[in-house]
């Protein structure tokens, strides 16, 4: 690996002792990437960029934040009003969290559509799910820190969920709280962990990239690269394409930061936390809403399995089941491009996720609980259906190779022109 010879003597000296430049060269200018990646492949690099932005803005916020119940809310307002550019750093961080989930959800759904979770990329998929779980924990704890009404009551509802577990439930909740309700000990430990977890995420992202480099990127056709004619070096082709994606993303992101900074938020969080007054509608941030809907869908107590516990188990299962996707999906064909039935089912799954999200954000009144229950059923039925589908679906003919497909497309477009 460190066998590269560099022209620059200084670079060579460093590289002989720490193969920084060799590794860089190996993973960029010499790294074979499929030549046919489309823009859905930009979202991985965007996610990494958002992680870095979140860590940077978070570090600067902590310079002025006080993690004590009597001062937390006011310290955030001091950041907004008195700290130079404090409002900017705060809004970057709050909106960055929403952006992180938008980017990661698109990244995940890309993986679902193109079968990127299939062999040999199972490890890559798992590491991604671990990152997702860590993100959810981090975002949950981060939202508590401003100590607004939603911070407090969201923390109360979610930590109370663990009491659903039989025998040990209440002990777990007391352990999480560090007391008899969400209070200062809870806030302090959430602060500590919220600072820690992003660095764990960073480490898992590193592993995620190592796993990626081991098996190389998949591509929209879902067929492996067969030789150099299918590949192009990551640098400069995908570095510049990623940079272009970064530009577009920043325009999207910063439009919210500068012109609609509270679009994703809840007005109730601008009210200081009051343990004696519950807001009319407690709801989590938008990126949790589908899971919130699943949680609330279970209302019928069963012997030995109260509805609350059913909801908690279903909510966790909704993510855990994704770990088994590489084996649940029995199709030999990866990409939805060649799986006409799977393609339809995928879009139904997406629409269903949006319905779940909507239901999760509304008070459970009228038809909504029933719609939520149907959508929950559809969510879980997706998986056994996938298992069957792989066995009975007749896929379209796969192209011979990536370059063959690319050449064919080029020929078609010149014909049309």
């Amino acid at each position: 690996m460190s066998g590269y010879k560099f022209d620059n003597k200084v670079v060579q000296w460093v590289d002989d002792r720490l193969p920084l430049f060799s590794v860089l060269k190996h993973s960029t200018t010499d790294y074979p990437t499929p030549r046919n990646l489309n823009y859905w492949w930009n979202f991985g690099s965007l996610a990494l960029m958002v992680l870095v932005i979140m860590i940077l803005t978070g570090i600067f916020l902590v310079m002025n934040y006080t993690p004590h119940t009597s001062m937390a809310f006011n310290s955030v307002e001091r950041i907004m009003r008195d700290v130079n550019y404090g409002w900017l750093i705060r809004y970057l961080h709050a909106n960055g969290a929403s952006m992180f989930f938008i980017v990661v959800y698109i990244h995940i759904f890309r993986g679902l559509y193109y079968g990127s979770y299939k062999a040999p990329r199972e490890m890559l998929w798992w590491l991604g799910l671990v990152i997702y779980l860590l993100m959810m924990a981090t975002a949950f704890m981060g939202y508590v820190l401003p100590w607004g009404q939603m911070s407090f009551w969201g923390a109360t509802v979610i930590t109370n969920l663990f009491s659903a577990f039989p025998v040990v439930g209440d002990y777990i909740v007391t352990l999480l709280w560090g007391g008899f309700s969400v209070d200062n000990p809870t806030l302090n430990r959430f602060f500590s962990l919220h600072y820690l977890l992003p660095f764990l995420i960073f480490a898992v992202v590193f592993l995620h990239l190592v796993a990626l480099h081991t098996v190389k990127s998949s591509n929209p056709l879902g067929i492996e690269m067969k030789g150099p004619q299918d590949a192009i070096p990551f640098h400069p082709y995908y570095t510049i394409k990623d940079l272009f994606g970064v530009g577009l993303f920043l325009i999207f992101f910063l439009s919210f930061v500068f012109f609609a900074p509270n679009f994703f938020g809840d007005p109730d969080n601008y009210i200081p936390a009051n343990p004696l007054v519950t807001p009319a509608h407690i709801k989590p941030e938008w990126y949790y809403l589908p899971f919130y809907a699943i949680l609330r869908s279970f209302t019928f107590d069963l012997p030995f399995l109260p509805a609350k516990l059913q909801g908690v188990l279903a909510m966790f299962s909704a993510i855990i089941i994704l770990f088994f996707l590489p084996w649940i999906d029995s199709s030999k064909v990866r990409s939805a491009k060649f799986r006409p039935i799977f393609k339809q089912v995928f879009w139904i799954f997406v629409a269903n996720a949006l319905v779940l999200g909507y239901v999760g954000g509304q008070p459970p009144e009228g038809n909504l609980p029933m719609i939520g229950q149907i959508s929950t059923a559809v969510y879980f039925l997706f998986f056994p259906f996938l298992f069957l589908l792989g066995k009975i679906e007749k896929p379209r003919a796969l192209p011979q190779s990536i370059s063959a497909a690319v050449l064919k497309d080029a020929a078609h477009s010149t014909e049309k022109a």
Binding site: M80, I251, L254, V257, P267
Partner: protein
């Protein structure tokens, strides 16, 4: 691609429908505010009028603890005017060398002195109701400034038939449930504006709501003007990235 667009459209429709459905209260009429839109900025003369309304009327019951007197210089007041506003109120300080707490006039660096020393005193003076702090009110309610305006102008002498208003409360058509603890605070000519503007109820409400939006979002002017520069810059940079991308990929096609 088509399926993706359809899904996004569905999502967008749902998202747009959500806020309307989340409001169980009456529909809030949208007002025109000087600071709305990409190029919106505060009208400082209006903010000064709004401060006068808050100062003369609202501050008798409502605190505004996150704003400091020195912040008023943004509205165009001179240092001496700011000092005078501050010095109207007394602040507890100390202990002095004798070990006693003492009163002193507020300074510009102090935050607005609340009308009551604590929440319990505020409740006692207001029939058990706690007048909320107004620093963030324009951001702390669904509908924001439109909602606050609707409340201020939503009082009605006669409630609809069959609607019961308990003792000590007042009917307000914009407030959830219709019964609010605050008596109607403004009416025509409730203040006499220093700049001579005609003080109709609507004008007063507009001015004080603008002031409240400033107290909730004092950074707005700088945020929007910086935003225009940043987005403009990014459009240029992204265009350059795109041109460079096409150049680099040209030899592949």
């Amino acid at each position: 691609m088509r399926k993706f667009l359809l899904s996004t459209l569905a999502a967008g429709l749902l998202a747009a429908a959500t806020p309307a459905l989340a409001n169980e209260g009456p529909e809030i009429e949208k007002q025109a505010w000087s600071w709305q839109g990409v190029f919106g900025q505060y009208d400082k003369a209006q903010l000064r009028r709004g401060w006068q309304v808050f100062h003369d009327i609202c501050s008798n019951c409502h605190s505004m603890k996150l704003v400091a007197y020195r912040n008023l210089s943004y509205l165009g007041f001179s240092d001496d005017e700011v000092k005078d506003f501050a010095a109207e109120k007394q602040v507890t300080d100390g202990p002095n060398d004798q070990g006693d707490m003492f009163q002193r006039p507020a300074r510009p660096s102090d935050h607005f002195v609340p009308p009551f020393p604590n929440d319990q005193a505020a409740r006692v003076a207001n029939n058990g109701a706690l007048p909320p702090d107004l620093s963030l009110m324009a951001k702390a309610r669904n509908g924001g400034p439109d909602y606050v305006y609707a409340i201020l102008t939503g009082f009605e002498d006669t409630p609809p038939a069959g609607h019961v208003v308990p003792d000590g409360m007042y009917y307000n058509k914009a407030f959830g449930g219709g019964n609010i603890g605050m008596p109607p605070p403004i009416s025509d000519d409730a203040v006499t504006y220093a700049d001579g503007t005609k003080a109709t109820k609507e004008q007063i409400a507009k001015d004080v709501v603008s002031f409240l939006n400033w107290t909730a979002e004092p950074e707005l002017d700088q945020r929007k003007s910086l935003g225009i520069k940043v987005i403009g810059f990014l459009i240029v940079l992204t265009a350059m990235f795109y041109a460079l991308k096409r150049k680099i990929w040209a030899d592949l096609h």
